[in-house]
Structure formats: C-alpha cells, structure tokens
C-alpha cells in the first residue's frame, strides 16, 4: 500500500487526479472508500466510478489536434486544459484506455493518458534542458554499467547479456561508455555526455517527456536508447533491466504477488513510454509508386 502511495506522489499527484469534464456537468459525489487523501492542492484519487458510456475522438479546431469525447463531453487534463493529442494514433491509444475501463475508472492503469497529461500540463514547469540534464544524470549510475564481482554465474550472465547492448550503443553513437565493478560506477567522458546531449536535443518536448519516463522506469539510459531506437523489444528491455532480479528468481523461486506484479507493471509503463515517444516523434507519409512492368 505504501509503495503505491509513493508512486502516486512521484507523479506530483498530477496525472492521477481525475480529469475535469466540462463545467456544465454536475459535480459527481465520490463514494468514500475510493477517495484516498484529500488535500488543499491536489487530491490523490486512484479510482472513480465510470461516468460515461461511449468514447470517441474528434478533430479539434486548432490545426490537426485530436480530442477525446466521453459521451459528448470533452476530456480535460488535470490542470484544466483541453486534452489534445497531436496525432490520431496517440488519440486512439488514449481513447482505448478509457474504453477499457469497466465499472470503475482506474487511473493508475492508464499510462498513455498519464503521459499525455504530463506533457500537456507540465506541472513541474520544466524546460527541455532541465529534462535532458535529468535524463543524462542516470547515465552515471546506469544499470548496465554497474557490474558485480561475484557470484560468478551472475557475472557471466551480466557479461553475456549487457555487454552486447553496451557495444551496440558505443558503435551507434560513436561514444565510450564502459562498465565498472567499483562502487563509484563508470567514468563517463565529457565527449560522451555531449554527444548524448546533442542527440537528446533533437527530440521535441513530448518525445522527451516519454523518453525521460522510459529512462526512469528502466533505470538505465543505455537500455532506454536501445528500446527507443528499436534495437530491442519492450520485453527484452525489461528483462535486461531486471537481470539480477531474474537471476535471483531463478535461484530462489518466483513470488507471484511481488515479482510478477512488478514485472507486468514495469512492462506496461515501459511499453507506454516507448509508444508515446514513437507517436510523438513520427511523421508518416504515403508515397505512391507506379508499378513498373
């Protein structure tokens, strides 16, 4: 229970506050058991009775943005802004999340909506540079770069699984990352940081939100890059991130209510982050070519 509360706090209680529908609708009385904490600045509400039947998307007025309609009422972000998605794919993903809910709306399972809300509202008022600095800070303590010295089977496992990803990122970005077994972690040269900083600067604000989210979930910049560059799948990234945990599970056994819950939740969040970055940074065109015969 405490862990869930901590997770709610880490989102600045933001994406988990209920979406505000149009002021015309009446205020809904929340049943008491579902209201966790009520504070002056924000309320941490984890669930809410489902108050709509149909979910649909529509084109907004302002240039190409898509809006979500819950039963004719437009969805809004926790900050009060109108919810707009920059492209159709993202809008459909969010609409599907709302559609998935039965009886109660469980905000903690709606990861795409959470990400969109954060990108739209920017509740902590961060700039692109701040986000890039925060993201790169994870590199100094990157999971992939921290190696153990014993037991030997774990050392071997880490070398076999993590070294290839390290080699890939060093080739792809022409940098030096390296791994280390000492407590201070690897020495990341400034040139590497500069290259990554420049690369991250090429992403727009929405993509950066998603990317930082993925890095925070996987606890590794290297893995996040490998996932975003579509070198590995989500399941592989999660497995590599939890390598030592999987090793221990293989040795001591699996505990469903802890290990599996963590695994599925991590997968869901990482998949949502990766998808969010993909949708925010893509632009699709259709080139029609005539068949040559």
């Amino acid at each position: 229970m405490l862990r869930n509360l901590v997770r709610l706090h880490s989102r600045v209680g933001h994406a988990l506050s209920p979406p505000i529908v149009c002021p015309r609708s009446q205020a809904l009385k929340l049943p008491l058991p579902l209201l966790s904490v009520n504070s002056k600045y924000y309320s941490i509400i984890t669930e809410r009775k489902k108050f709509y039947e149909d979910v649909s998307i529509s084109h907004g007025e302002a240039g190409g943005m898509f809006e979500i309609n819950l039963d004719q009422r437009k969805l809004k972000t926790p900050g009060g802004k109108l919810f707009t998605a920059p492209n159709k794919a993202l809008a459909i993903a969010v609409a599907n999340e709302w559609d998935t809910q039965k009886d109660t709306v469980k905000f903690y399972s709606m990861h795409m909506t959470t990400l969109c809300n954060t990108a739209l509202d920017n509740p902590t008022f961060r700039s692109k540079d701040q986000m890039i600095t925060a993201a790169l800070k994870y590199l100094e303590t990157d999971t992939i770069c921290y190696r153990v010295e014993e037991p030997p089977s774990l050392v071997e496992l880490q070398n076999n699984e993590w070294d290839p990803v390290l080699n890939w990122i060093e080739d792809r970005y022409n940098v030096v990352v390296g791994s280390s077994t000492n407590i201070l972690g690897p020495e990341i040269p400034q040139a590497t940081m500069d290259t990554f900083r420049q690369h991250l600067g090429s992403y727009n604000f929405w993509s950066l939100t998603g990317l930082e989210y993925v890095i925070t979930q996987l606890k590794s910049v290297v893995l996040a890059f490998a996932l975003i560059d579509k070198h590995i799948t989500v399941e592989q990234a999660v497995l590599l991130s939890r390598l030592e945990e999987e090793f221990q599970i293989g040795h001591w056994g699996n505990v469903e209510w802890a290990h599996d819950v963590d695994l599925y939740e991590l997968r869901a969040r990482t998949a949502a982050g990766a998808l969010f970055v993909h949708f925010s940074s893509e632009s699709s065109t259709v080139k029609r070519k005539l068949m040559q015969d």
């Binding site: 998307i57 559609d99 469980k106 290839p164 819950v261």
Partner: protein, 125 residues
C-alpha cells in the same frame, strides 16, 4: 535455470528478424481488443485503426523498409502494453489490499463477533 534465461534473451544478436511476425502481432492485438470490448469489438475505434495500419504497411517497394520495421516495433510495443496492463490488473485485483474494512468484517475474518448489549451501554442518551 540460468541457461534457460540465456536462451530466452538473445538480445544483442537479435535484430528485427527475431521479432514475431506481423500476423502474430496483429492477431494478438485484436485478441486483446476482443477481451476488452466483448462481442461488439469490431465496431471499436482501435480495431479499425489497427487493421488499417497493418494493411497500409504491408506493401513496400524496398527490401529493407525502415518505416515498416518501425511500425512493426510499435505494434509489438502496443501488444505488450495491452497484455501487460491486463495481466497487471488481474494480479492487482487478486493481491492488492482492499483498504480498511469495518470492525464487524474484521472481527469476522478471525472468527469473532462484536459484542452486543441489547439494553445499550448506559451512557447513550
């Protein structure tokens, strides 16, 4: 057991070829949508969009089409999102704490009953 793990991962050498085939991913996504929506899943937004995207990306002039690979990776991620959310919620419903129960229910769990005093305790009005 660790060697099963090593066989499972295949990360570095894995390239796009080791991803599941588009057909399997498409079927997986549609199955998830059906699990969510029930009988009228064919009218849902997601269903039509997903099918549309798969059809559009099928035809390409290149031998190695980057856009196609990217779309495949995105669809794989979406399938992972749908399945893991469903599995997480299933486990959550089973294992997550229900919050505080009322005293009578709590007593009932350990096999006790709350005491009753028909005449009242004497200090009620």
């Amino acid at each position: 057991m660790i060697y099963i793990l090593l066989v499972r991962t295949q990360t570095s050498q894995s390239n796009m070829a080791s991803l599941s085939s588009p057909l399997r991913i498409c079927r997986g996504i549609l199955r998830e949508i059906r699990a969510i929506k029930g009988p009228e899943y064919k009218q849902s937004l997601a269903y039509n969009y997903v099918l549309d995207q798969f059809r559009k990306n099928q035809i390409t002039g290149e031998r190695y089409c980057r856009a196609q690979e990217e779309a495949l990776h995105a669809s794989h991620s979406y399938l992972c999102l749908l399945t893991s959310t469903r599995q997480h919620m299933a486990l959550y419903d089973i294992y997550h704490g229900k919050g505080q129960r009322d005293t009578e229910e709590m007593a009932g769990i350990v096999g006790l009953r709350l005491p009753t005093q028909p005449g009242g305790k004497g200090w009620e009005k």
